[in-house]
Amino acid sequence: MSNVDSAGSGLAIVGWAVTSPFGIGRSVFSEGLAAGRSTERAIEQGQGPAGTACLVPEFDSRAVLGKKGTRMMNRVTGMAVSTMGDLLREVSGHRLDPDTTGLVLGTTVGSAQSTIDFTRGSLTGERPFHVEPGLIPYAVMNGAAGQCAIWHGVKGPNATLAAGRSAGLLALNYARRLLLTGRAGTVLCGAAEEYSVARAWISERSAGNDAPGAVLGEGCAMFALTAEPTDEPPLATLLAVKAMTCSDGDWYATIRRCIEQTVAAAGVQPCDVWMASPSGAAGAAGQAERAALGDLFEVGDRLVSITELVGETHAASGALQLAAVLGLAERNPESAQRLAVVTSTDESGTVAVCLLRLS
């Protein structure tokens, strides 16, 4: 077991934006969650083995972003660029300095579809080098983060963090480090995952026996974190993020220890945690996550699980969970100054926990 990081002073979350199977934007997301509306829909024949998925409705990069610079843009990049645009519009009052604004994006492998399309082109073309060069920027893992920065003119540190389901929370931790070490003044941080035929088949073929046939979802959520003083009170304060590795199969022990250390690092009491969001992972990890949250906290019906509504969103899951917590807290006047915990598990063994104070 290894520790990644502990807490420091809190960092302000001054804005967020989301693109989800409920649609583009915060209000449809929060309303859909509050209503408990499932987004699972039948997909077209040949679009994946499962027959259903939770897709961002009618999302098309060219329709959302325009025809310039989007010809070869894949879905995950389109969602990330578009969501970041929404985020930048929301925090426009903070007058971000492009030179000190960083960007951290969580992913699984970038776009499995673009990578496979590129490789297939090389194998099936007349010559191995007869590939589509326009795919290259998107077939690499950091294509989306790079395009976000180019599109929006963000010139600070640019990081892509590939960590499967833990990516969203680990990206937050990476953003914390950039801010606490003074490498950036503000960090735009989040995670994105696209639905594609390639991802659907990878998911189908790699599913463990204890977690068969998850309904896949997609989406992107992004947050603006800053260490600089803000004129207005923040939407929430990130108090601590921690990650551990479960190497012995005892998910419950690792998750519980990770949560306890996160709470202790922030110097708060478990009884003060008011809302929690487990990742909703299938199988033993997900069950252990719910059990640990139930044993440690008294959150009642404020246990926010989004996987049943938006599907298995892999890299985007942690970011969408955080967005869900912020979105639901926004609608609840009792949330002021309360604490919320978001947890995540990945089949590779990573356990990640973040703790925030709502405003």
Binding site: K67, K68, G69, T70, R71, G125, E126, H130, V131, E132, P133, G134, P137
Partner: protein, 82 residues
């Protein structure tokens, strides 16, 4: 010197317009890809590669310096061994 047929010109123009994200009436034989149409080096490589794929020709990368507009592309393609 070999020449490109009107059909080939049409195909080449279609490829260039697609890659530069232009409508066919926005480009002329003389308008410059980089200066007039905001192309970068990546777009130029895409044009070269797409011509190779679609016209079944091989174009040396050194020819990129002549492929600054449609006229230049017609000349380069016309000179390739086919």
């Amino acid at each position: 010197m070999a020449v490109v047929t009107p059909d080939e010109k049409q195909l080449i123009k279609g490829i260039v317009c697609d890659i530069l994200e232009l409508e066919s009436d926005e480009i002329t034989d003389d308008s410059l890809f980089v200066e007039d149409h905001d192309a970068d080096s990546m777009r130029l490589i895409e044009i070269l590669s797409s011509l190779e794929l679609n016209l079944k020709v091989t174009i040396e990368q050194s020819e990129l310096s002549r492929m600054v507009n449609l006229q230049g592309v017609y000349e380069v393609v016309g000179n390739t061994a086919r």
